[in-house]
Every structure is written in C-alpha cells, then in structure tokens.
C-alpha cells in the first residue's frame, strides 16, 4: 500500500490560516490502514484545528468527510454538494488523492495534510517499511523475492557493496543489507548459482525516466 504520515500541525495551520470554512477529507484506503488519514485521523485533526482556532480567538467551520477512495473520480464526486460551502479543502489522502480532488474542483484551494512516503508493507502493529519503488520492470523473480531497488540504499543490481557490516547496511545498523537477504534467500531456495549472473544496466523508462507513467487498458477504457 501507499504509506503516509501526517504533516506537522503548524504547517497545516499555516495553509488554512486565511480560511474559515474547511472541507476536511479523509480516505478509506491506504491512509486508513497506515493510520494517517482515515476517518479517525480526520476526526482527530478536526479537533486539533478547532482547538487551535479557539486559542487564536477565531471560529472555524470544519466539515469532515471520508471517501471510500480519494483517487477515484466516482468517489471524489461525493464532495460536490459540499464544495461551495467551503473556502478550502484539506486532504488527508496520499498525493494521488489530493490531486484527484484538486483536479475535479478547480476553483477550490486543496492542501495536503499528510506527506506521502512510500509503497510499503506492514511489519507489525504500527510499523511499515518500504518494499517497492514502482520501477516498472519487476526483478523479484530473480532476486529471491527481495527487491534491490527498494531495499538496497544504492539500489545495486549486483550487490552487496563493500559497506556491509554484520549483515547490515552501511547507512545504519537498523537497515538490513538487501543483498545479504537476497543471498540468504537464494541459498534457502537452492539457487546460489544464480548469484553470479550479471544483472544488466537497468532500463529506467518504465519506472518514470520516460516521463509520468500512464496505463491505458483498451479493453476497459471508454
């Protein structure tokens, strides 16, 4: 999923300072799972903003809505009845959601309340770690199911580099060396001999080097 973290409250307060009627929009997908921008976080942020405006001696009107999916026009449309009643929109979705809302309602300022971080997986309660860079040409089939693009700090295709120490990455003892993991997994799979296959220079086009990515499924597109 896409992970995110709430922005510092002061940054959000600065964005909305000129406005008094706010439409605060959460998303029921990834940001709900990573507890950054779901219904619960929308409620908490609304309370915090109310509290702040009281302290400033101002009144603020906040309409709270959490959409099923903020990156989908069908659900974004649900905001239409409320948009005229708001001076500004604050979105707690990932950057995809923020842009879907901004693209639909062209005269409303839309501000992000979260920082979108990475595509990751949950490692346990309250812990998420990056697992995919969206490089567009998946190599997991030849790297034992561990991604060198997302998990090697230098995204080496022929690692490990010389900085590995006690099996950990040179940047931090808290970061596993991806190539140590790849090697251990190849051994478990009895595929050690694959290690010496040269991995050729990567074509970065599918991952963004060719410009913004776009998928058109002719069978589905209308």
């Amino acid at each position: 999923m896409i992970t995110a973290e709430q922005k510092p409250i002061q940054e959000i307060i600065q964005y909305i300072a000129p406005y008094s009627r706010i439409l605060l929009v959460g998303c029921n997908e990834c940001v709900t799972v990573c507890a950054a921008g779901g219904r619960k976080e929308v409620g908490l942020l609304a309370s915090a903003l109310h509290l702040n405006s009281l302290k400033q001696g101002k009144t603020i009107d906040i309409k709270e809505i959490t959409l099923e999916r903020q990156c989908d026009p069908e659900y974004v449309e649900e905001l239409a009845p409320y948009i005229d009643g708001a001076d500004a929109v604050v979105s707690m979705a990932c950057g995809c959601g923020v842009q879907s809302v901004a693209g639909r309602f062209k005269t409303s300022p839309v501000f992000p309340a979260v920082n979108t971080r990475f595509m990751g997986a949950s490692l346990g309660q309250g812990v998420w770690a990056e697992r995919c860079k969206g490089c567009g040409d998946c190599v997991l089939g030849i790297t034992g199911g561990i991604c060198p693009v997302a998990r090697c700090s230098k995204h080496l295709f022929n690692g490990p580099c010389g900085g590995t120490s006690n099996g950990q990455c040179e940047i931090s003892p808290d970061v596993d060396c991806a190539w140590r993991l790849i090697w251990e997994r190849l051994k478990e799979l009895g595929m050690e001999n694959r290690y010496e296959d040269l991995m050729n220079a990567k074509d970065w086009r599918p991952g963004g080097a060719a410009g913004p990515g776009k998928i058109i499924r002719e069978d589905l597109a209308q």
Partner: protein
C-alpha cells in the same frame, strides 16, 4: 595489451605494481594536487584520484587527474556511480581519455549519508559492475552503453575495488567473479589489517583460478595513531581492524605511533608478497602521502621498473 596504461604494462611484465592515491582538495587549489602527486611520483606506477570520497565535495577526479597527467605522471581516475548517470559517466570517460588518462577505477561510492550533502539524491543509474561492463564495451566494442558506435573509443585499463572483509564473506569471492565477468582488469582491495582473513579470501580467489583473470593489488594503509585505528574500526563501513593492531599501537608512546604504523604496513607488505595471486600493492596513506616513498623503499619495492 589492451591499453597504453603504465599500470597495465607493469602488471603484464610480471613485476609487483605499486599504486597510491591523492585525494583532491576541497577547493580550487591545483597546487595541492601537484604537491601531493610530487611526493609520490618516483615511487608508484599510478596515482588514484578519488571521486568525492566519503561523499564530501572535492575537486572532480577528472580535473585533478588532468593536473597529474600534465605533470607527466599516471593518474588512475576513480569514478563513483553515486554522482553520475550513464551519460555523464561516458562523457567524462571520453573527456578524460582525450587528456591521455587511460586508467580508471569503477566504484559504487559511499552513501551520501556519510558526507557533507546528506540531503542529496544518489544517482546509482548503474552499479559498479555495470559500469565496468560499460567501460569495457566502450573500449573493446567501441560502442556506447546505449548501443551507438563511438568515433574515437576510449581505451581504458579498468579497475575496481574489492572488500574481502565485508560480509557475507562467502559472497566476496563470488562478487569478484562477477566483476571479472563484467570485464575488470585489476582490483585494488580495501585496506588490509586482518591478514588471516585476507589470506583466506585469496585462497578462495586462487582456488577458482580468478588470479589468472585479474590483477589483485593489496590495499595497505599505515596507521598514524591509535586514535586513527580506533576510528577506522568503529566508524568506517566495511573495515576490519583486529584488536591486535590497536594493542600494538597502544603499546608504544604517542610520538612513536606513526613510526610503528609504518613498520606494521611494511611488515604487512612483506607477508602479503608471499600470497599467491597478489600482483601488487595499493598504498593509501590518508593525508600522509609523504610517507609513501619510505614505505615503498622499506618494503623493497623501489626503484620502480621502467616500462
């Protein structure tokens, strides 16, 4: 012989090669490059020019290598994958070769986290193995990485690094094999302090016959002080400093530590000379270049052969 490289000629002659290094200055001070190189000039066959080492901005390795070349010496231009994409690498390689620089070293590069621009985005368009392969194809097939023909192909003698001490240890010979497969000509190793482990690695290398496919230059660094030894043990990634090294330096007075460090370096060279497959030494006297001639002489590697 693939190139005009002095280092290649020395290695082909069967003599033990000696290289050293010059870290470019953190400013536009060409005289610093000249001073450091002048200290090394009669005692080495090539001078590595580091490329933003430890991710600190310095004069480019290309520019410093040109200065050294213009002194009539033999620079080994280092290039890290961290700071350049394949376009920038290839244009710099052609540019360097146009100035007569014919020997280079392909490296991944320390992570930007360690330097003075930790906020920088690392490039890593290629890794060091892919860079080796690109430079080899530029030389042997006269083609760019993208496939087009080069008019005036750069004929580089291609080096790379190997760290026998990083783990997983069992991968360290295999990774060398990958670099050989990619087309590397010579290897300069990480600084060797754990000689037992280096011998074990070299045994793995020779058991596979890899020493017949690549020239290995053993990395030697003289310790200036026990403080430096402790720092390298604790702070430098991938460094293996046995406690015995620290104990020995602790055993002499502070004033005697530099001399003891040099003695230890010379002893290491003597022991490593006996190891099958070692074809030379890469002496990295960090900000201590003036001691390189003494080490080379005491280790019986002077005078350098004429080629």
């Amino acid at each position: 012989m693939n190139t005009e490289s002095r280092l290649e000629k020395i290695l082909a002659s069967g003599e033990l090669a000696v290289t050293s290094e010059c870290g470019p200055p953190r400013g536009a001070l060409p005289e610093k490059v000249k001073e450091k190189s002048a200290l090394l000039k009669d005692h080495v066959d090539g001078i590595n020019v580091t490329d933003n080492q430890t991710a600190m901005v310095r004069m480019s390795s290309f520019a410093a290598a040109v200065i050294i070349k213009q002194m009539g010496l033999d620079p080994i231009m280092q290039m890290v994958a961290r700071d350049r994409n394949r376009l920038a690498m290839q244009s710099d390689i052609i540019g360097a070769y146009a100035f007569g620089i014919n020997t280079m070293l392909c490296l991944s590069g320390d992570h930007a986290k360690f330097g003075d621009h930790p906020m920088a985005q690392g490039v890593f368009d290629l890794d060091s193995v892919q860079m080796i392969n690109m430079v080899r194809r530029m030389r042997d097939e006269e083609t760019f990485q993208g496939g087009a023909k080069i008019d005036g192909a750069p004929k580089m003698f291609i080096g790379a690094a190997a760290n026998p001490f990083a783990d997983p240890f069992e991968l360290r010979v295999m990774r060398l094999a990958k670099k050989i497969k990619a087309g590397v000509d010579f290897i300069q190793t990480q600084c060797i302090f754990n000689l037992d482990k280096f011998e074990e690695w070299m045994k793995g290398v020779t058991d596979r016959g890899l020493d017949e496919k690549v020239h290995i230059l053993a990395g030697i660094t003289p310790m200036k002080s026990v403080g430096m030894a402790r720092y390298m043990k604790n702070k430098v990634p991938g460094m293996d400093i046995p406690d015995a090294v620290i104990k020995r330096l602790e055993g002499v007075s502070k004033e005697q530590q530099p001399e003891e460090g040099i003695k230890m370096a010379v002893e290491s060279i003597e022991r490593i000379k006996a190891i099958k497959g070692v074809h030379g030494f890469h002496i990295m006297a960090i900000e201590w270049e003036e001691k390189v001639p003494q080490i080379v002489e005491q280790a019986g590697l002077y005078p350098r052969p004429a080629v």
